[in-house]
């Protein structure tokens, strides 16, 4: 059985979902994209928080949620209107509620008067609508003055007992006793008693007893003789005429007796029944008032469609501890390694024995991959859980900086591994802060530049080529390239005479120690922003790129792997060392002719690739290892994409093949090693390093170009 603490945890998880629902709903209402269901969903969200908080005894939460809920209820039933000012108060209220939830979660008491201003705002709205507050004292067990009598049911009574109770006087129901005895003529005219009874049932609550006393022995039975007859009662909202109508076609061919016994119509009500009916004016009858059989199924179907057309199948989800999934992920990782080892052994077997094995092994590889994908999809979460914090951030920043900013979001449902989600919050917060603080201009400046006073920050996510791409785009001023370059030169981040294009200047802001804010504000501008963001993203195996158009705005793109546990890699060999290069970083592999490589002064070597020059570097030089060319003397150039659109070629000795590898972090044990991202275990049981291509690219740019480091000098085969 779950403990109370587990239940509280579940409750707070539900609160997170509810808060998201509230925030999204309010934002939709504000931007005019709401439907009737939107305000209901927001109301339900607050109501759930309040209900759960009450049960678990978080009184502060209950108190605030109650006032919040009252306003929402007013909006829902039309006694209040959703003016822009009211919505602002509601949005602030959702922020306060979020804070109260997280305080309750961490067991802190809210500081005295916390959210008081907002609460006063809500109460003011309630007063405008003339609505009173029900107060938030302890919950009453009963509503005072409510004329409600609990309806007791006798659990031991036979099933039909309650239905035979008389309809109370004044319930608006008519009650008839019916005796229906078909004659042989009726069947001969092809009138079926069953159809008559079905029609009758449509009128309301029908209780019939079938009399079978006329039934003869089987040998004496005639096919077209009606042996059965019925008697019973009908409770219906329909008048007598409508009951008669049912028997219209058979009335001459049967013995029929219909008697109106509706209580009000009966002069002799039993004295015992009268006080009972008066005491329980509304809730005595268990049968529905005049429920037609068609209406039975209808509410189910309608309501199921009512929720925006989606019908949720019953209990198809389950909550699993993350730890358990992680265990499966680890096991899949081990499986991938064992399978690679098996592959290696099979390869070394003589062909006669290996043929069938290889076939089976291929199937195993296929299944392992599917298993991996399914497990990874279990860990996947929509990025919406990170995105949902951003509207509040933007709102608060806009207020602080006196700017008008609208946040647009798209692709919140895009899924990515949970471990990445967890580490995405900080970089995104930084970038959005920068966009609002530095990017978006003040309304006056924007108006002067002919732009809409309200700036737009757009946050979007999508899957692209096995990665998730998150884009943060603003329509602000863009990067002031002269100023950035000037500051970079002043701070000695670049040489005084360096020539850079717009994009390269833009990338300078991601250098450590760079800050352009003229005054260091408490929002951003301490110069620890973008370089931290860049290293965060790189730690995740991702890339960050930046595009800025002066006066039009800036776009920052983050490309991240979908998972941090297993990846597709290319196994390569340099000297005696084996490395793995992430397949996602490889653009193409080729064996160039010697004359395709030229040596310009001051560069490592340039490969002429379809009319373009791409710098090439020896991997052995970058990693400082001895490399003797293989027997054939041929080397391979891997063209990689290190992000920011810059390509370069890495010269390696040999390509050993493509393989799925399990990523094992080495940072904990060894710290950061330049050029190495992580390690993995190969099929032969040996450890191989996974290369950090982006870092290698940086190292290539900064490594000294000297004798013996150039391509031609080190590679006789290419000479």
């Amino acid at each position: 059985m779950a403990s109370l603490d587990d239940l509280k945890k579940t409750f707070f998880d539900e609160c997170d979902e509810a808060m998201q629902q509230i925030e999204l709903g309010l934002t939709d209402i504000r931007s005019g994209q709401s439907t009737d269901e939107t305000i209901n969903a927001v109301f339900r969200g607050v109501h759930s928080v309040k209900g759960g908080a009450g049960i678990f005894g978080f009184e502060q939460l209950v108190g605030f949620a109650h006032v919040f809920e009252t306003v929402l209820d007013g909006l829902r039933n039309g006694s209040l209107t959703a003016t822009e000012e009211n919505l602002d108060v509601l949005l602030t209220a959702s922020d306060v509620l979020t804070d109260l939830v997280s305080m309750s979660r961490s067991g802190q008491a809210a500081p005295p008067g916390f959210g008081g201003e907002c609460r006063a705002g809500l109460e003011q709205i309630i007063e405008q609508g003339g609505g009173g507050d029900d107060g938030d004292g302890p919950a009453p067990a009963e509503f005072d003055g409510l004329d409600f009598v609990p309806v007791c049911v006798d659990m031991d009574a036979p099933d039909d007992a309650p239905a035979t109770q008389a309809a109370p006087a004044g319930s608006g129901l008519n009650r008839f006793t019916i005796t229906f005895k078909p004659k042989p003529e009726m069947l001969k005219k092809a009138n079926e008693p069953l159809y008559v009874l079905r029609e009758l049932r449509k009128l309301g609550e029908l209780e019939l007893i079938c009399e079978t006393g006329l039934l003869p022995a089987l040998s004496e039975m005639e096919v077209d003789y009606p042996y059965f007859w019925w008697k019973g009662t009908l409770e219906t909202a329909s008048p007598r005429a409508q009951v008669d109508e049912v028997f219209e076609f058979v009335v001459g061919d049967c013995d029929l007796e219909i008697v109106d016994v509706t209580p009000a119509a009966l002069p002799t009500v039993s004295t015992d029944d009268a006080p009972l009916a008066a005491a329980a004016p509304v809730a005595l009858v268990i049968a529905p008032p005049a429920a037609k059989p068609v209406a039975v199924a209808a509410p189910v179907a309608e309501s199921a469609d009512g929720g925006g057309g989606r019908t949720k199948p019953a209990a198809t989800t389950t909550r699993i501890e993350l730890e358990r999934i992680d265990r499966v992920v680890n096991m899949v990782g081990e499986l991938v390694i064992s399978q690679a080892m098996l592959g290696q052994i099979v390869q070394d077997l003589p062909e006669a024995t290996s043929g069938r094995l290889i076939q089976i092994l291929e199937e195993v590889v296929h299944h392992t991959r599917e298993l991996k994908d399914s497990v990874m999809s279990m860990r996947a979460q929509p990025v919406g859980s990170v995105f949902q914090r951003m509207p509040r951030l933007v709102r608060e920043l806009a207020t602080k900086t006196h700017k008008k900013v609208r946040l647009e979001m798209a692709g919140e449902t895009t899924e990515v591994d949970r471990s990445i989600i967890e580490r995405l919050g900080d970089p995104l917060t930084h970038i959005i802060r920068n966009s609002v603080d530095h990017g978006i201009e003040t309304p006056a400046v924007r108006a002067a530049a002919g732009k809409n006073e309200e700036g737009v920050v757009r946050l979007s996510a999508e899957h692209r080529g096995g990665r998730i791409v998150i884009e943060i785009k603003d329509d602000g001023a863009g990067i002031n390239s002269e100023r950035v370059l000037k500051i970079a030169k002043e701070k000695g981040l670049v040489g005084p005479d360096v020539q850079l294009n717009e994009d390269e200047i833009g990338n300078l802001i991601m250098l450590p120690g760079f800050s352009t804010a003229e005054t260091v504000s408490d929002i951003s501008g301490r110069g620890v922003g973008m370089d931290v963001v860049r290293s965060n993203i790189q730690d995740l195996g991702g890339r960050i790129s930046l595009k800025s158009v002066r006066g039009r705005g800036m776009t920052i793109q983050l490309a991240l792997p979908l998972t941090l546990a297993v990846m597709d890699g290319m196994v390569i060999k340099v000297g005696q060392q084996t490395y793995v290069m992430p397949l996602s970083a490889i653009v193409e592999c080729l064996r160039p002719q010697a004359n395709e490589i030229s040596n310009l002064i001051g560069t490592h070597g340039m490969l002429q690739l379809r009319g373009e020059f791409v710098p090439v570097v020896l991997l052995s030089n970058l990693l400082d290892i001895n490399s003797a060319p293989s027997a054939s003397g041929e080397r391979v150039v891997i063209i990689t994409d290190a992000g920011e659109g810059s390509r370069f070629g890495l010269v390696v000795d040999e390509l050993l093949g493509h393989q799925q590898v399990v990523i094992k972090s080495i940072e904990e044990s060894y710290g950061t090693v330049p050029g190495i991202a992580a390690a993995t275990i190969l099929g032969n049981g040996r450890v191989a390093f996974i290369l950090d291509v982006e870092k290698l690219s940086d190292m290539a740019v900064n490594s000294p170009v000297g004798a013996a480091t150039t391509m031609k000098a080190a590679s006789p085969a290419l000479n």
Partner: protein, 129 residues
């Protein structure tokens, strides 16, 4: 006198935590056969296939709310006589009037203690053994 052990209860609430809390309270009172549903639609599915002795349902739920469920239950041939207790908030006085008209057996204001729950159940199905 009904015995809590044999009574088949269905808890309907969209909040898992509240459902579990209600379940815990019911177990404390001796109930052993407890079904759960997240909303009215699911509850009706359960009610169609499971014989039930008692339904305890929240009001505010997506898909189909407690009142909708009550009406659907009362219109369902197999479930129409099942005692129904509606959970309400403290501001839901008018809701109780509507629910009474729709044939609710009792109501219960959240949050509630085990004793209150027991009292409300006993008002409906008689003293528990």
């Amino acid at each position: 006198m009904p015995s809590a052990v044999t009574i088949k209860v269905l808890i309907v609430d969209d909040q898992n935590s509240v459902r579990q809390m209600t379940r815990m309270t019911l177990e404390e009172l001796g109930f052993r056969v407890i079904h759960e549903a997240e909303n009215g639609v699911q509850a009706m599915e359960t009610a169609s296939v499971q014989p039930l002795d008692l339904i305890i349902s929240d009001f505010n739920m997506p898909e189909m709310d407690g009142l909708g469920l009550l009406r659907a239950v009362r219109g369902h041939p197999a479930a129409r006589k099942v005692p129904f207790i509606l959970l309400t908030g403290r501001g839901d006085r008018e809701l109780v009037v509507k629910a009474a008209q729709a044939g609710v057996n009792n109501y219960l204001v959240k949050p509630f203690t085990a004793d209150i729950l027991r009292g409300k159940i006993e008002q409906v199905i008689g003293k528990l053994t």
